[in-house]
Every structure is written in C-alpha cells, then in structure tokens.
C-alpha cells in the first residue's frame, strides 16, 4: 500500500479554507433559501388554485383592506433597507450604528407582524376563519406561514442585537449579520409575491355568485 502525499492538516472548523472558496454558512443559507422557494411555491399555488373556488363568502373583495396592507408592505420593504444598512455598518466595523439598524429592522418586523395580527383579527370579526371556506383556509395558512418566518427572523434579529452588547458581533464576525440579512430579505421577497398575487390581483366572480 502506498503512502499518501501529505499536506498540512486541515482543521475541521477552519472557516478560512474551503474547496469552493465560499464560506460554509453562506453556501448553506443560500441552499436553504433555494429550498424554501419550493415551500412557498406550494403554498402560493394552493392559494392560486383555490382562487374563485369558495362556495360561500366572505370573499377577498369583502375583507381586504388594500391601503392597510400597502402600509404593511412599505414597512417590510423599509425593514429590508434597515437590514442592509445594518450589514453595511458592521462590515465597516461600526458596531454602534449596526446595532441601531438591527433594532430598527426588528421593530419594523414587529410592526409588520402587528399589522398581520390586526388584519387576521379583523377578518375573523368579519366572518372569515380557517374553516369558513377555501379562501380562508388557503389565505390564513399562506400568510400565517409567512408571518411565522417573519417572527423567526425577528427572534434572530433580537438575538444578534443582544449579542452585540456582549461584544460577539464585530467586523470579523459580520457573517452572522449577513446571514440573518439574507434570511430577512428572502422573507421580504416572498411578501412581494404574496402582496401581488393575493391582495392586488383581483379574484374573479366567486363560485357562489
């Protein structure tokens, strides 16, 4: 049996040396986001399939408050801006400013969630629940899944915000902020699709008349 030519031992957790030159966590995050596209694809197409199929109301036109939801959309878009500003700051080594933008992102995210909660409770009050019809079923589960993703994002933002006080977030560890950012922007682009497909594109005459 031959001896193998040797090189310096490569430690497992050394983030510097990878076969593609790309950091492990970032590659993993992009792969995860790619797979998440299929998750939302399934939910969105369920919604589209059942558009106009409800046999009883309330129907979308009966409950949607487009101005309100537009404000929510602006809020989420703004949070993407604050997120990228947070990353930009930490990449320049400005922990203090990054911290501010991180908190802003989290607060905007919470505002979005608050808007969702308000919207859901209003709709329920108007007679639209999970069980009412296929519109209720597909709408709440789709937007609920999205909202859960936002909530997880807020949790991560607040965690990173807190860790920054313990000195754990700095220019060398800006990857953490970058990863949270990628996740956060993904949640935003999903909403861009949902806002158009669910809210803005009008549903045809409902099946029930």
């Amino acid at each position: 049996m031959a001896t193998l030519e040797h090189s310096a031992p490569a430690p497992v957790t050394d983030h510097a040396a990878t076969s593609t030159g790309l950091p492990h966590l970032k590659l993993a995050m992009w792969l995860f986001l790619a797979s998440d596209c299929l998750l939302f694809g399934a939910l969105i197409s369920t919604y589209v399939l059942y558009r106009g199929a409800s046999t009883v109301g309330p129907y979308p036109a009966d409950v949607f408050d487009i101005p309100f939801t537009s404000v929510s959309s602006f809020v989420l878009l703004a949070s993407s801006l604050t997120m990228v500003l947070a990353l930009s700051a930490i990449q320049r080594g400005d922990v203090g400013r990054s911290r501010v933008w991180l908190l802003a992102t989290a607060l905007l995210g919470m505002a979005f969630l608050g808007g969702q909660v308000y919207e859901f409770t209003t709709f329920v009050g108007e007679g639209l629940t999970l069980k009412t019809n296929v519109f209720g079923t597909s709408f709440y589960v789709l937007t609920g899944f999205h909202g859960t993703h936002v909530a997880v994002g807020v949790l991560m933002l607040l965690t990173v915000f807190t860790l920054s006080f313990a000195g754990k977030i700095n220019q060398d560890s800006s990857m953490t902020v970058e990863l949270v950012g990628l996740y956060w922007h993904f949640v935003d682009i999903v909403w861009i699709v949902i806002f158009t497909v669910v809210y803005l594109i009008p549903t045809g005459n409902p099946a029930g008349g």
Partner: protein, 112 residues
C-alpha cells in the same frame, strides 16, 4: 492560498476573499429602497384604476418581478457575489415556478 474568484470549485482549497466584488454604499441602498417604494406605490395606484383589467395583471407581475430582482441582486448582494450562490437560488426558484405552473396548468386554472 489563492484568492481566486470562484466560479468552479478549484483544485485547491481557497481562502474566501473577505469581500468579493464591490459593495454598494448606504447611498445606493437608499436609492434602491426609494425605487422599491415608488414601484409599490405605483402597484397600489394601478389597483384602483378602473378598466385597467387587461393590462393590470401583467403590469402587476412585471412590477413585482422588478422589486423581487432588485432585492435579490442588491440587498441580497447576489449581483456582486459568487455565481455559485445564484445557481442554487435559481435552481430552487426556477424549480418552484416551473413545477407549480405545470400543476396549475393541469388544473386549468388559467383557462376560462
């Protein structure tokens, strides 16, 4: 260790370049955000235009597509990063769009 641009997995391990490509600064990000806001406002405005049914839907899709692309390419930095990330993301995105369009076509969702 070579700090080469990585499009193909090299034959040697490579230290990731700390920041590959250029980074937009805050000004550019704010500009993008303003564009996103304007497009959103346009989308909502169009929604209220009566009788725009026929081009409403394609226009709305076009606007969403633009917003989606702007966020992915600039905020998610895909325009400046390794193509490997884009390849994976496109795999998932294109896969989702294609497969579910086929499902919806089979259900004849797009026919009247």
């Amino acid at each position: 260790m070579a700090e080469t641009r990585v499009d193909d997995p090299g034959s040697e391990t490579q230290t990731p370049a700390p920041h590959s490509g250029r980074h937009p600064g805050p000004r550019e990000y704010i500009r993008i955000a303003i564009i996103l806001g304007v497009i959103t406002a346009a989308e909502v405005a169009i929604y209220y235009i009566e009788g725009a049914k026929d081009f409403l839907i394609p226009l709305l899709f076009f606007f969403s597509f633009v917003k989606f692309t702007l966020v992915v390419l600039w905020f998610m930095h895909l325009r400046f990063d390794s193509r490997t990330y884009a390849r994976f993301f496109v795999m998932g995105l294109a896969g989702a769009v294609t497969l579910f369009l086929i499902v919806l076509l089979i259900f004849q969702v797009f026919s009247s």
